[in-house]
C-alpha cells in the first residue's frame, strides 16, 4: 500500500473518533433538557449524573489525542522530512537569485499572466525590460485567437516573420492555410475552396505531397469528406496541434524553448529526488556525496525531459566522451573507441554482439 493510502486510513480513525465526540454532545443536551422539564428533580442524583458526564467528556476528548498523535507518527514514518540533504544552500543567492527571478518572470510571461509579473517585479525588485515583455503579450493574444479558431492574427504574424520562418524550413504558414482550406471543404464550399487553392499553390515546392492530398479531397466534397479516405483531414486534433506548432515556432524565433524551462526543471527535480533520496544513506555512509562531478545514480526522466543523446558504451558501461567516442563497427553495432582497442587482437576485432569479424580501422566514428 502506498504512503497516501496508509495516511488516509490512519486519518479515518482520527475522523471517526471526532465524530463520536460530536455525537456525545446529545448526552449534554439530555442533561440540559432534564433540568428544564422536571420540577421534582432529585438534585443530588442529577448533579452526580452531570459530574459523571463532564468527567466522561474530558476523558474522551483527551483520548482523541491518541489517534491524532498516532497520525503524526505515521506521517513521520511514511514521508521523508528532509530531502535538501545534497542541496547547495548558497546556490540561490546574489547574482544567481537574479537568474532565478529572470526564469520566474519568463515562466509567468509564457503563461500570459501579466498581473502576476507586475506583482513579482514590485515585490522582488527584479528589473524586467519592456522589450522582453512585449513579444509574449503578442504571442498570448495570437494563441488566444487560435483557440477560438481564428487564424487571421497567426497568418498575419507569419507574414511579418516570413524570411525567418523560411530559413527554419517551417511549415507553419502552410499548416494555417491548410486549416482554412479544410474548413471550406467541411462546409462543402467547393467554389471557395477552389479559390483558396490559389493561395496554397505557392507552397507546391515545399509541401507537394500534402498539397496533392488536399486537392484530392476536393473530389469528395459533395459526397461528404467524413466518409472518404480523407476523413483524417477534419480531425479536430489539428486545431490543438496548430496551437502547439505556433507556440513552438514563435518561441524558437525568439530564441526560446517550447516549454517553460522552469516547469521542465522542477518536474525533472520532482522525479529525480526520490531516486537520489533512496541511495542517500549509502552515499552518506561512504561519504561519497559531492566528491564526484556526476550524480551518484542514474535517473530516467522519460523522453519529455531528455534533450540530448546519452551513449554509454555497453562494454565499458561508461558514458562516451570526446576522447573516447562511439564507433560503429561494419556490422552496425556500436561500442566505444577504448573498448574497440581492448577487443582488437592483431588488427582483427570480432563484434561482441554478432559473429562478424572486421579490422578496427574500418570502424567509423559516429555522432549522436
Amino acid at each position: 500500500m502506498d504512503a497516501v493510502s496508509v495516511l488516509q486510513k490512519e486519518f479515518c480513525k482520527v475522523n471517526s473518533k471526532h465524530k463520536e465526540l460530536q455525537e456525545g454532545l446529545s448526552n449534554l443536551d439530555d442533561l440540559v433538557a432534564a433540568v428544564e422539564n422536571n420540577q421534582d428533580l432529585d438534585c443530588n442524583w442529577y448533579l452526580n449524573q452531570v459530574k459523571t458526564e463532564l468527567t466522561n467528556i474530558s476523558v474522551s476528548h483527551k483520548d482523541w489525542h491518541g489517534s491524532i498523535s498516532r497520525f503524526g507518527k505515521v506521517i513521520d514514518k511514511q514521508l521523508t522530512e528532509n530531502v535538501s540533504f545534497f542541496t547547495n544552500r548558497d546556490l540561490i543567492s546574489g547574482r544567481n537569485s537574479q537568474l532565478l527571478h529572470q526564469l520566474i518572470c519568463e515562466h509567468f510571461l509564457r503563461q500570459g499572466n501579466l498581473e502576476l509579473v507586475e506583482k513579482f517585479v514590485q515585490d522582488s525588485g527584479h528589473k524586467l525590460e519592456e522589450c522582453k515583455k512585449r513579444p509574449f503579450v503578442d504571442l498570448n493574444q495570437i494563441v488566444g485567437s487560435l483557440r477560438k479558431r481564428d487564424l487571421l492574427p497567426a497568418l498575419k504574424w507569419c507574414e511579418n516573420n516570413r524570411p525567418a520562418l523560411k530559413k527554419r524550413g517551417s511549415s507553419l504558414e502552410f499548416m494555417l492555410h491548410r486549416l482554412n482550406f479544410i474548413s471550406l471543404i467541411k462546409e462543402r464550399n467547393t467554389a471557395g475552396a477552389l479559390q483558396y487553392a490559389q493561395i496554397l499553390g505557392q507552397f507546391v515546392e515545399t509541401h507537394k505531397k500534402q498539397l496533392q492530398r488536399l486537392m484530392g479531397s476536393l473530389l469528395y466534397v459533395s459526397t461528404g469528406i467524413e466518409n472518404s479516405v480523407y476523413r483524417d483531414l477534419i480531425d479536430p486534433q489539428h486545431w490543438s496541434d496548430i496551437c502547439d506548432l505556433f507556440t513552438k515556432e514563435a518561441c524558437s524565433l525568439m530564441g526560446l524553448s517550447k516549454e517553460s524551462p522552469l516547469s521542465i526543471t522542477v518536474d525533472a527535480g520532482c522525479k529525480a529526488l526520490p531516486a537520489l533520496n533512496s541511495i542517500r544513506q549509502v552515499m552518506e555512509a561512504k561519504q561519497l556525496w559531492g566528491l564526484k562531478d556526476e550524480l551518484p545514480c542514474e535517473v530516467d526522466l522519460g523522453p519529455s525531459c531528455q534533450f540530448h543523446s546519452l551513449f554509454a558504451c555497453p562494454i565499458l558501461r561508461a558514458q562516451c566522451t570526446k576522447s573516447n567516442p562511439p564507433m560503429r563497427l561494419e556490422c552496425g553495432h556500436v561500442i566505444s573507441n577504448d573498448a574497440l582497442k581492448r577487443l582488437a587482437i592483431s588488427n582483427k576485432v570480432k563484434c561482441p554482439y554478432c559473429p562478424q569479424e572486421t579490422s578496427p580501422s574500418e570502424a567509423k566514428q559516429i555522432y549522436f
Binding site: D76, E81, N82, C270, Q319, Y367
Partner: protein, 386 residues
C-alpha cells in the same frame, strides 16, 4: 509508473501533511485546556450546590446552574467544530495527494503538476517576503487549500513589529508556544528580554533596566551565568562605547538578528524545511538534465540547461549519470529506439529513421542539419545500440 508517483509524494510532500497536522494538534491542546478549565469550574459549582443544607435551596440554585451548563455546552461544541475544521484541512490535503497517485489521465496529471509548481513557487515567495506575489498566485492558481499562507502572514506581522522595535507580539508568540520552544532549547525569549534590557539602558533608565533584568532575565531557563553577566556589564557602558564586544550589543543589527531567529524558530516549530523546496528541486532537476552537450557546441534549443539563465545557474552542479544509452534524434527530438531506428549518414552523424524519411518525402533529399551535406535516404545505414 504508479509507484514512481507514490515515491514523489514520499520525497516531496512531508510539509503538505505535517503542517496542517501540527495546527490540528495545537488546536486540540488549546481546546483541551478550555474544556478542562470549564469543567473544573462546573465541578466546583456542583460541589457547592450539593453542600447546600436543604433540597429547597438546591432547587433554587438549579436555574443558574442550567445556564452555566448550557454555556459550557456551547463552548464545547464550538471547540469541536473548530477542531473539525482543521481535521477537514488534513483530510483535504490527503485527498489532493491521492489525486496524483490514483489518477492516470494525462490532462488531470498536467493540471496537478502545475498546481505543484505553483505551490513550490508560493513557498519560495513567502520565504523571501514576496507576499503580494504569493497571494496573487494563490488566488489565480486556485490553490488556497494546499498552501500555508497564514503561517507566513502571521509571522510577517510579528517580524514587522520587531523591525519597529516592538517585542510584545513576539513575546506573546513565545508564550503560546512555550512548551515546544523549551523542547528545542530556543533562546529566542531570552534574547527578546535582553533586547528590552538593552533598550532601557539606551534610554538611560538604569533602575528600570535592573528591575527588568531581575524580573525576566534571572528566571530565564537555558540561560548561562556568563551570558547574563556579560549582559549586566552593559550597565557600566554608554551606548556610544567603542569597546567592540559591547558596541555589538548596542548595535541596531541585533533587531535584524531577532527577526531571523524568530523566523527560524517559526519554521522549525511548523516543521518547515530551512531551505525552500524550490531550491532543492531545481538543483536536483538541473543535475538530472545536465549533460556535457549542454556546455558544448551541441546545444539544444528546447533543453533548459543549454539555455540561459539556467545554463549559468547549473554550472557548479554535478552532471547526470548514465550507464544505459538513451538516444534522442537531433532533428525531431524524439527518442531513437526500435520504433525509430537510429540511422548513420555517410558523414557519421546519426538521426532517427522517421525524421530522415520525412525529410526525403518533403524535400526529395536528405540534408544533414549539422554539415549541410546532401545525401540520398538509401545511403543511410542502420546503427545497433545495445
Amino acid at each position: 509508473m504508479k509507484s514512481s508517483k507514490a515515491s514523489e509524494i514520499v520525497a516531496l510532500e512531508y510539509t503538505t501533511v505535517k503542517v496542517p497536522y501540527e495546527v490540528l494538534n495545537k488546536k486540540f491542546r488549546q481546546a483541551q485546556k478550555i474544556i478542562d478549565r470549564e469543567i473544573s469550574q462546573l465541578s466546583n459549582q456542583i460541589s457547592n450546590i450539593m453542600r447546600l443544607p436543604s433540597p429547597e435551596l438546591q432547587r433554587q440554585a438549579m436555574p443558574a446552574f442550567k445556564e452555566k451548563l448550557t454555556s459550557f455546552r456551547k463552548r464545547y461544541a464550538d471547540c469541536l467544530t473548530k477542531e473539525g475544521g482543521y481535521a477537514d484541512k488534513c483530510l483535504h490535503r490527503l485527498q489532493h495527494l491521492a489525486e496524483y497517485t490514483t489518477n492516470s489521465d494525462p490532462k488531470s496529471e498536467a493540471i496537478w503538476k502545475r498546481k505543484r509548481l505553483d505551490k513550490i513557487l508560493v513557498d519560495y515567495f513567502l520565504r523571501n517576503s514576496h507576499y503580494e506575489t504569493a497571494l496573487q498566485m494563490v488566488k489565480s492558481g486556485g490553490i488556497e487549500d494546499i498552501v500555508d499562507t497564514e503561517l507566513f502572514i502571521s509571522g510577517r506581522d510579528i517580524e514587522n513589529s520587531l523591525v519597529a522595535h516592538n517585542v510584545a507580539p513576539c513575546l506573546q508568540w513565545c508564550h503560546e508556544n512555550r512548551s515546544r520552544l523549551k523542547k528545542t532549547r530556543s533562546t529566542l525569549e531570552f534574547n527578546l528580554h535582553t533586547q528590552c534590557f538593552i533598550e532601557k539602558i539606551r534610554s538611560k533608565d538604569y533602575m528600570g533596566a535592573i528591575q527588568y533584568a531581575q524580573r525576566y532575565l534571572v528566571e530565564s531557563e537555558g540561560m548561562s551565568k556568563e551570558k547574563l553577566q556579560e549582559t549586566m556589564v552593559l550597565l557600566a557602558f554608554k551606548p556610544s562605547t567603542e569597546c567592540e564586544k559591547y558596541k555589538a550589543l548596542f548595535s541596531e543589527e541585533r533587531w535584524q538578528e531577532l527577526v531571523l531567529e524568530f523566523r527560524a524558530s517559526n519554521y522549525e516549530l511548523h516543521h518547515l524545511h530551512s531551505d525552500s523546496l524550490l531550491s532543492t528541486v531545481l538543483q536536483s532537476g538541473l543535475s538530472a538534465i545536465k549533460t556535457h552537450q549542454c556546455y558544448s557546441s551541441e546545444k539544444s534549443g528546447d533543453c533548459p540547461v543549454c539555455n540561459e539563465p539556467l545554463n549559468s545557474l547549473a554550472t557548479p552542479l554535478p552532471f547526470s549519470h548514465c550507464t544505459q544509452s538513451r538516444l534522442i534524434c537531433r532533428i525531431s527530438g524524439q527518442p531513437m529506439n526500435e520504433h525509430n531506428a537510429p540511422m548513420m549518414l555517410p558523414n557519421g552523424n546519426v538521426y532517427g529513421e522517421t525524421a530522415l524519411t520525412e525529410m526525403m518525402a518533403t524535400h526529395g533529399i536528405v540534408t544533414c542539419p549539422k554539415t549541410n551535406e546532401k545525401f540520398w535516404l538509401d545511403q543511410a545505414q542502420k546503427v545497433y545500440v545495445m
